[in-house]
Amino acid sequence: MSTLLPGKSASYLLASAAILAAAMSFFLGPTHIAPKELLDGLFGGHGIAAIVAREIRLPRAGLALFVGAALGASGAALQGLFRNPLASPDVTGVTSCAGLGAVVALYFGFAALSPALLPAFAILGALASASILFVLARKGAGVMALVLAGVAISSLAVALTALALTFAANPYAMAEMVLWMMGSLKDRTLTDLAFAAPLIVIGIALLLSAARGLDALTLGEEAARSLGIDVTSVRMRVVLGVALATGAATAAAGAVSFVGLVVPHLLRPLFGYRPAQLILPSAFGGALLVAASDVLVRSIDPSEQLRLGVVTAMLGAPFFFTLILKLRREA
C-alpha cells in the first residue's frame, strides 16, 4: 500500500481536526462571550450565553460538520460509481437541483405547511438530477458527456431557481437568492440541524453499504457482476444516498460547491484509490473543510457578507482546472 499513514489513524486524525474546527467555529462570533460561559450555556443555564450557544453557535458548528460530511461522502461515492474523478454533487448538478427544490418549498409556501417539506423538496430535486445522470451513464455516456450534462442540468436549475425567486410572493426572496446559490451557515436554527443530521446520516450509511460494490466496479460492470455484486442495487444505493445526503445538506445550507470534488482527491494520497476506503474519510475531510471554511469566512469578514460557498468555490475551482489538465495529460 502506498499510503503515508495507516487508514484508521489518518481517519481519526481527520475526524478530530473536523471537530476541532467545529469547536473553533462554536467559540467564534460577533458576540464576545467567554468560552466557559458558552459551554455552561450549552449544557444549561439561561441568558445571552445560553441563547447564543444553543440557538446560534451549536446549529452553525453542527451543520458545518454534517453538511461537509454529506458533500464529501457523496463526492467520493459518485466518483466511485461513475469511475470518474470529475464526478461530484455540484459538478453533476445535484446540488443546484437540490437548491431549486429547497427554493420551491420555501417560497411557494410548502415549507410553511410542514418543516419536513423543505428537505423533502431538496431531496426530490437532488434525486431528479442524480437519476438523469444515472440514465445517461447507463446509456454509455462518456466522461465529458456526463460533465457537460452536469453543466446543463446545473445551469437550468440555477435559472429555474432565479425564476422561482422572481415570482415568489416573499419580497425578500430575491435578496436570499445569494444564499441558495452560494451557500451559507448563517442564521441556521436547531430545527435545521435536527432535520438535516438524521437524513445525512442515513444517506452516508447508504453510501457505505454500497462500498464493496463500488470497489468491484473498479474492474468494470461485467467483472463486478461476475464477482457476485448486484450492480443495479449498488447504483440505486449511491443515487439514493447522494440524494438524501446532498439534498438534506443543501436544504440546510444552500449550494456549497466543490467540497465533494476536492475532498476525495486530497485524500487519495493518504487513503489510496479504492472507493470503499475513501467514503468515510471523505465524510470527515468534508466536515473539516466546511467547518474550517466557515471559520475562515467569519475571520475575514465578521459582518458575514462573504458567503461560505464563495470560499469553497475559490478553493475548489482552480483545483478543478488542475484536475482536468492532469486527466488530459494522462489520457
Partner: protein, 238 residues
C-alpha cells in the same frame, strides 16, 4: 462442470447463440474459437447467468438460475475480455478484489494467485504503471484469487507477448490438472490447437464443430492452414 443444453440467447433481436449444446469438463482446458461475432463471449456470459437465455445451463449439476449471486461467483471465476482497472490501485489490491465473493481478503490466496500468474514481481506497483501484458497478468491473478472450481477467460492471450502466451496456456493447463474446469476463448488457432484438450468451434451462434480439421477451418473461418508438430498456422484464405 458446465452443461449447455440447447441454449439460445440474443441481444436486441439479434441471435447470439442458437441451440448450443456443449459441456465444459473438469480437468480439461476447453478452447472456444470462432470468427468475430460467433457467440464465444455470449456462451461464457450465459454460463455466468449474465445473459438471459432459452434452453438450460447447468453449473455443477444445478441450473444457473438456482444459484445465489455470491455462491455462483465463488464457483465460477470470470476474466472478461479487455478488462481494465478504472482506478490506479496497486496490483495487489486489484487481485484482492477476487476475494469479494468470499467476503475476505485472504492474503495467502492473493499471494498465491499473483505468483501463479507470474505477477508477484510487480504486486506493489500501481496498475497504471504496468505494461498491457503485465496488466493482463494481474487481471488473470484477480480471477485466480477467487480459487473457484471453474475458470472462464475471455481472450486472456490478447495482450500477451509470445512467451507469456505460452506461460498462460501452461498456467491454464496447470489449473485444469488440479481439477478445475477451464474454458478460454481464443482467436489464436495455434494456441487452441496446441494447448486445449477440447475445442468448441462456434459460427453464427451455433456450435459448428468440436475439432479443428481442415474442413472445419475452411467452412467456418474460410482459411487453409499449415500443420506442424501438432499445431497449426493460419496460412491463406480459401
Amino acid at each position: 462442470m458446465i452443461v449447455f443444453d440447447r441454449v439460445g440467447a440474443g441481444y436486441a433481436g439479434r441471435a447470439a447463440l442458437r441451440e448450443v449444446s456443449a459441456r465444459l469438463v473438469p480437468g480439461k482446458v476447453t478452447g472456444i474459437v470462432g470468427p468475430n461475432g460467433a457467440g464465444k463471449t455470449s456462451l461464457l456470459r450465459a454460463a455466468l447467468g449474465l445473459l438471459p437465455h432459452t434452453g438450460k445451463v447447468t453449473v455443477q449439476d444445478r441450473a444457473v438460475e438456482e444459484w445465489s449471486r455470491e455462491a455462483l461467483a465463488r464457483t465460477i471465476a470470470y476474466l472478461p475480455q479487455g478488462g481494465d482497472a478504472h482506478w490506479p490501485v496497486p496490483a495487489r489490491d486489484l487481485v484482492t478484489l477476487g476475494r469479494l465473493p468470499h467476503r475476505d481478503r485472504d492474503a495467502r490466496a492473493v499471494a498465491d494467485a499473483l505468483a501463479r500468474a507470474d505477477a508477484g514481481a510487480f504486486a506493489e506497483r500501481r496498475i497504471d504503471e504496468l505494461s498491457a501484458g503485465e496488466r493482463a497478468r494481474v487481471l488473470l491473478a484477480r480471477a485466480l484469487a477467487t480459487q473457484a472450481p471453474v475458470l472462464l477467460a475471455d481472450e486472456p492471450a490478447a495482450f500477451l507477448d509470445p512467451a507469456h502466451q505460452l506461460r498462460l496456456m501452461d498456467l491454464l493447463r496447470g489449473e485444469a490438472a488440479r481439477g478445475t474446469t477451464v474454458a478460454v476463448t481464443l482467436h489464436d488457432l495455434a494456441l487452441a490447437s496446441r494447448h486445449c484438450d477440447e475445442v468448441l468451434v462456434l459460427h453464427e451462434g451455433r456450435l459448428a464443430a468440436t475439432d479443428l480439421s481442415d474442413e472445419t477451418l475452411a467452412r467456418v473461418f474460410g482459411i487453409a492452414v499449415l500443420r506442424a508438430d501438432g499445431a497449426l498456422v493460419p496460412w491463406r484464405l480459401v
